[in-house]
Each structure stands twice: as C-alpha cells, then as structure tokens.
Symmetry: C2
Subunit: 229 residues, 2 copies
DNA sequence: AAAAAACTTGATCAAACGGTCAAGAATCGT
DNA sequence: ACGATTCTTGACCGTTTGATCAAGTTTTTT
C-alpha cells in the first residue's frame, strides 16, 4: 500500500513534472518562434525584447524569466537553425549515384528555403555581420561537414562518374542559389512582378538550378523531379 | 579695372565657392564611406551615428550638419550602391555573342563582390529586412532592367544561339553566386580554412561559375578568362 | 572692413531599450 | 494541508542613442 501510495504519489508527481516540463517547453518554443520572426525582420540589434514578448503574448519580464538576456535568446534561435543546416545532405554518400545525390540535395535545400525563410534570414544576417556568435560552428562543424562531402564528390570525380569541378565551390553555389530565394525573396518577387514568391517559383528555380548544376557536372537530370524521398 | 577687380573678385569667389564645394563634397564622401562600413558591419539599426562620426574623424554634431538624420545618411549610402548595381551588364546586348556577354557579366559581378564587399553587404542587409527603403527601386528600375535583359536572352534562345533557360532565374543565379562571395565571405573563408578570402578564391569561383552557367546554357567558355574589357 | 553665410562642436535632451525587482499567484512535493 | 518552488507581472532603473541647440569660428560676399 505504501508502495501503491508511493507509486501513486510518484506517478502523480512524475506526471505533474512532465506536464510542467511540457508547458515550459511549449512557452519556450513559442518565444523562440516569435524571436525567430523578429530577428529575421529586424536583425539582432533591431529586434526588441518587447516586440518578441508581444508576439509571444507574454509580458516582457516573463520573457526574461525564460531567457536571461536577448543575446541568450538569440543564441538559442541560432542553435536550432544550425541543426537544420547540417540536417540536409544525408544522401551525399559515395555509394549513391551523383546525379541522384546532388538533385536530392538541391531539392532539399530549396524546400528548406521555401518552408523556413525566417530561419534562413536570421542565419544570413548573422553571417553578413561577421558571424560573431557562430564562427566556431563555421570553422568546426560546418568545415568538417564540407570536408567530408567534398571527399565524396572528389571520389565520384576520381571514379569518372562526373566531370572535375571544385567540390567546395559547388556547395557554395548550391547554398547561394537556394538561400537567395529565402533571403532575397522580396527582391526576386519584385523582379518577377509578384507580391510574394509562389510555390511554382521555388519549383522552377530548383529545377533550373538542378539542370544547370548537373549539366555542368556532366550529369543527366533524373527522370523524376522533384526527386522522391 | 573695376572689371578686373570685379573679375578678380568674381574669380576669387568662384574659386572659393569651388573649393568650398569640393571641400563639402569631400567631407560628405568621407562620411558616406565611413557610413557604408558601419552599416555593412552592424546593419541600419546596429549602426550608430557616433561610430560613423568617429570613423570619419568629426564630432557627431558635425555629421548631423551634413546629413539631417541617420536614415537620410543611410538612404544616400544606398543610393550610391544602387547605381553600382545597374552599372554592370552593359555587354548584354542582342548583337553580342551570348558566351561573351554572360562571361563578361559574371566576371564583372564577381569583381564587384571582391572590390566592394561592404556595398554588397549593405544592400543584402536592406533586402533581407524587407527592403523598406528601396522597394520602389526593385519594382521599377531593377525590374525594368531585368525585363530588358531577359528579352535579350530570349532573343538569343529564339535564334538558337543557346539552350532554352528561364532568363530571370539565370540572373538570380548569377547574382546569388557572385554576391555570396561578398556577403558570406566569413562563412566561405571558414569552410576553406582561411582567415579571409584571397584573390585566387574569387578567381576560381568566377571561373567555375562561368563554366557551369555557360555549359548549362549550351555555350562554350571563351578562350580568355577573365574576359578582356 | 564689415555683414552674412557656412561651418564646427561641447553640452544637453527626450525616447527607447535591455534588464531588474519585489510582490503576488499558481503549482508542486510530501 | 501547507511549506517550498516555480511562474507571472507591473513598475522601475541605468544606459545608449539620435537629434538639437547655442555659442563660437571660419569663410564668403559686397
């Protein structure tokens, strides 16, 4: 019985603690989402904690309860974005067909630009202003990532599967092109005479980028576009 | 004699006025240069008039004598940058060979990224944050520019001089790739394991971009790279 | 030479902002 | 049930910043 009670108690408190954790995680997530949109719109300096609090729907003091400083909040927003960055490119492996791998990567990056343009803009802003918070990430994780992927590409080239190109600049090309449709969306929309970019714009951009990149690497477009999961 | 005196006076005053204008233009140019670097580093919100004044070497109050407000100064910095933007691409004309025209354009844009990275960053920052100051430019001048150039490209395609590609997305591709080496220089340098980008990096990037773009358009690289003026 | 115009600059101000605090409300552990 | 912990919030504070001003200096005009 004491065991039962203890179990009951333990069960109750565990559930309660679980609920509190979920609730805490939930409000933190809401703050982070609001912060991402404000940082994307205004940059780090232009963003105000008051605006982030307002979009979250909590008083400013409450926001500072969950995130000590604005910089702290900004770092955590960036953290989530960096995980997105390295999360793509899992198909770039020696045993995969290069045309398949590259078109898959391009499609995934373009999809990210379409679905998470705010994240892309926060990232871009951070880099443009000298990457004060993420220079370690760039020099360590990202550089390693590129080194590994470049080895794969070089392997394809050595095996005669594609034309010789500089693998690193190839990645820069794919990054630049896909991110430009998130970061510079207003410019592209203006030139296209639209108020905002449409799904078909991203689709066309991704397809043409894949066509030109693959062609430039001496590869054939896969029959299916966008490539299957 | 009165004529001579008058001439002398007029001469003196004209020269004096000329000197004053030159002097005024000179200090304004120094302020604009300092402002460009501060806006590039910190964005519009992050930039302070105190820092701009400090880099110019004048008291803050003096800066406000020449430029009424920070926004005013920012607009004039942008103005100069927009003129750079439209100043390239003069070789994209119906009668020019497409391979020649495109490789020339790519080289010119890459050269701009190398020589005016601050300008590129100020521009990028403005666009990322919604282009509050230059949406008119994007919708009018830039859109017209692209419309005209796209017609030229479409003409080349119709004449069978190059493979059919979407001309607008082709320009977006060139812009994205060249500007990325200015805007994201710290990221690219980090991935390449350098402290900063070297001339040879820009050179390699430009050459590979031209190779891939031209190949993608079914064109041959010109014998000479970078192309002659 | 003297009045007018243009320029310089230290001091100052009001607004905005990041962050704190204390007091209270809600929830949790036992 | 009740003390302890966690959370909420309006009020408040020190700093930063864009901008102004007034007093003075230099240059220009006549």
């Amino acid at each position: 019985m004491s065991v039962a009670i203890t179990q009951h108690k333990t069960g109750r408190s565990t559930v309660a603690k679980g609920i509190r954790q979920i609730s805490r995680a939930s409000i933190e997530a809401r703050i982070l989402a609001a912060a991402e949109s404000v940082f994307a719109e205004s940059g780090f300096s232009g963003a105000t904690t008051a605006e982030i609090a307002k979009r979250t729907g909590v008083p400013k003091a409450n926001l500072h309860y969950y995130f000590k400083t604005k910089e702290d909040l900004y770092r955590q927003v960036l953290q989530g974005i960096l995980e997105l960055w390295l999360g793509t490119g899992d198909q770039i492996l020696p045993e995969i067909d290069p045309a398949q791998a590259l078109s898959h990567y391009i499609a995934a990056k373009m999809e990210l630009a379409r679905q998470r343009p705010l994240a892309s803009r926060v990232f871009a802003n951070e880099i443009i202003h000298g990457a004060p918070q993420i220079s370690d990430f760039l020099q360590d994780e990202l550089r390693d990532w590129v080194d590994r992927k470049a080895e794969v590409v070089d392997g394809w080239i050595a095996a005669g599967k594609m034309k010789p190109v500089d693998a690193r600049h190839l990645f820069f090309m794919i990054w630049a092109n896909t991110q430009t449709y998130a970061d510079f969306a207003v410019q592209i929309a203006a030139v296209l005479g639209r108020s905002q970019l449409l799904p078909e714009d991203y689709d066309k951009a991704g397809r043409q980028l894949a066509e030109i990149v693959l062609q430039g690497c001496g590869l054939k477009m896969p029959a299916q576009w966008p490539p299957a999961e």
